[in-house]
């Protein structure tokens, strides 16, 4: 089964995210300026840019949280403007700010979000047990989420975001403030998810993480200035690493960081 799906992706790559000339304006300020790109199924897509470059705004439009001013976008085959409820059924989202319920226990958070996505009680129970085992969280099952350390919280938030096996998962700076070991473990989880066919759309400020992505786009002042695999980008900009690529592009920015 997995093989078959794999073959399919090779023969006719499925576009999970298609964005065409997407614009978002707040009054006279253009936060996102004619964005166009495509992301394929199972890809890990890095979405880079300085603070205030418009990453979060773009991501919020893709998630159906805000409506585009102009342009078209499709996520998981649904129009982001007119079918946002369908989009929401097929995506997972992990925001910059930790946003599971702090006053609910680990299993209760899993149960709540799984229930929201329409899973039934039995499936939730089975899958929760499996997940807690994989994360080695069995002991924390009955712990209130607020008393978990940050690394554990982020891993849990990610697992909850992909618990219902969405087509795409959007990660907004998922590893901010997390220690290097946990960051590594976190990326292992991302790879596992991608292997299962979940497309990963991730923003980050860590350039070493950018290297882990299949393809990377770099946003400057609301526009995508570069989009390619990390290897090709480094060759094109004659850079040693992604950090240099980023520095060269970010220097062009005229917009002030927030």
């Amino acid at each position: 089964m997995e093989n078959l799906q794999h073959n399919e992706t090779i023969t006719q790559p499925k576009k999970v995210i298609e964005v065409n000339q997407l614009v978002k304006r707040f009054g006279h300020f253009t936060a996102v300026d004619h964005l166009s790109f495509e992301v394929e199924k199972g890809e890990i897509f890095g979405f880079l840019g300085a603070n205030g470059a418009g990453k979060t705004t773009a991501m919020r439009m893709l998630c159906g949280l805000s409506k585009p001013t102009e342009g078209k976008g499709k996520v998981a085959g649904f129009d982001i403007e007119h079918q946002s409820e369908q989009v929401k059924k097929n995506i997972g989202y992990m925001s910059q700010k930790f946003s599971l319920y702090n006053d609910l226990k680990v299993w209760e958070n899993i149960r709540l979000f799984a229930g929201i996505y329409g899973m039934n009680d039995n499936d939730i129970k089975e899958k929760t047990a499996l997940l807690l085992e994989q994360l080695h969280f069995e002991k924390e099952r009955n712990v209130l989420v607020k008393s978990l350390p940050l690394g554990m919280k982020q891993k849990l938030a990610f697992s909850v975001a992909i618990f219902h096996t969405p087509e795409v998962v959007f990660l907004d700076e998922p590893t901010g403030g997390v220690d290097p070991t946990t960051r590594r473990q976190f990326w292992e989880l991302i790879y596992e998810a991608a292997e299962k066919g979940i497309t990963v759309f991730v923003t980050t400020h860590y350039m070493d993480e950018a290297e882990y992505c299949n393809r990377v786009s770099i946003m400057v002042d609301g526009r995508i200035e570069a989009l390619d695999s990390p290897h090709n980008l480094k060759t094109a900009f004659e850079a040693q690493n992604m950090d240099e690529v980023f520095q060269q592009l970010a220097r062009k920015a005229t917009r002030k960081a927030d």
Binding site: C63, G64, L65, S66, E85, K88, K89, I91, Y93, S95, K97, F98, S99, L100, Y101, N102, D103, L104, E108, R111, L112, F113, G115, I116, Y117, G118, L144, F170
Partner: protein
């Protein structure tokens, strides 16, 4: 889907260090303490007597005043000026000055004057205490006349008319019976109007609102799951209030409980709509709390809870006409005390339904705009 959301709300409420206690203790405190404190009866007024006559009649008048139970004799002063000092130093509230020759005038001329001076810094206390005093003096004079008639000294100079008043619906003028139904309305306002509003704003602040917004949960369902939880709490709290009123005060509504629950249901819709509007315009708890604080004071003071709306100036009555709490307090008092049925309360019904529609429509429109 909604099952999981309601389950979540109750788990969160039960784990909140403050909310379960508030839900339990607030109605208890409001119903056990406030009705005693928010009393209209004025007792223990400090009285200073200036007796310039020193006769049997002047002493009898003083005794009668003190034995009425409204006044507490705190001082005898030789002069009016000294008595005023008692008032200035807050040791006395009312001065009763009996002039010289009080007894002589009373016997010879069948009339005598006394001076009642009351401290009217608090207008209600001042007004009521001079009224009480005047009543006592009138009573005293008719008592003397009665004695004289019996002794055959004098024929009654003026034919007297006795006024017998009958207090309907609250025969003993028990102010607690008046306050308690209104207090219930107040409790319901806080539990089902302002608590859910604060809850919604707290989710906005925590960022969990946004997390829910990217799930397929329709916004309406999410908000509804919260409201429903607080509606259940509201009905629980009002039932507890009915029980307290019955067990502690022996008050049982004259009207039907079902009418009361029906109106409570409409009122709950109204105040939760109001709460939603507040939550839509507030991004932080602090902001929401200030708005709630402001509205709470306006709602209470213009509701007829303490002071009758009819005695307010006309412009204030117009403002009060837009106060849903006023209508619900009227409903609660009418059912509790008069036994009014649904038909008697049709105007309040339309007013409350109107507010419910208005606030909920406003809530829906402002919610869309905020996105």
């Amino acid at each position: 889907m909604i099952k999981y959301l309601i389950e979540k709300e109750f788990k969160q409420i039960s784990r909140n260090p403050f909310l379960p206690r508030l839900i339990m203790f607030y109605p208890l405190v409001v119903l056990l303490i406030f009705p005693w404190a928010a009393t209209y009866e004025i007792r223990n007024i400090n009285l200073c007597v200036v007796d310039n006559d020193h006769t049997t009649y002047s002493q009898q008048l003083t005794e009668k005043t003190v034995s009425s139970g409204y006044f507490k004799l705190t001082a005898f002063e030789p002069t009016y000026q000294q008595a005023m000092q008692q008032i200035a130093s807050k040791r006395a509230n009312v001065i009763l000055e009996i002039p010289p020759h009080f007894e002589r005038d009373l016997i010879n001329r069948q009339s005598a004057n006394v001076l009642i001076a009351s401290n009217a810094v608090n207008g209600t206390v001042g007004g009521l205490s001079s009224e009480y005093m005047a009543d006592i003096v009138t009573d005293f004079s008719s008592q003397i006349r009665h004695e004289w008639v019996q002794a055959g000294k004098e024929p009654p100079a003026v034919p007297t008319i006795d006024v017998v008043s009958q207090n309907r619906f609250n025969p003993f003028l028990n102010y607690k019976l008046f306050m308690i139904p209104a207090m219930m309305a107040l409790v319901l306002t806080i539990m089902t109007g302002f608590l859910p509003a604060l809850n919604i704003v707290s989710e906005k602040e925590a960022g969990t609102m946004e997390q829910i917004n990217v799930t397929p949960v329709p916004k309406f369902t999410f908000i509804f799951s919260k409201l429903l939880s607080y509606w259940l709490i509201g009905f629980f709290v009002i039932s507890v209030s009915f029980l307290i009123a019955w067990i502690v005060y022996g008050f049982v509504p004259v009207g039907h409980l079902s009418t009361m629950y029906a109106y409570a249901g409409i009122y709950i819709l109204t105040v939760s709509g109001m709460g939603l509007v507040i939550s839509n315009y507030s991004d932080t708890m602090q902001q929401a709390l200030f708005v709630i604080f402001f509205f709470m004071i306006v709602l209470i003071l213009l509701s007829g809870l303490f002071t009758p709306v009819n005695s307010m100036p006309e412009w204030a009555q117009w403002i009060a006409a837009f106060n849903p709490l006023k209508y619900f307090i009227q409903v609660m008092r009418s059912i509790y005390m008069k036994g009014s049925g649904f038909v008697d309360l049709i105007p309040q019904f339309f007013a409350l339904v109107g507010f419910a529609v208005f606030f909920n429509l406003w809530a829906v429109i402002s919610y869309r705009k905020s996105n």
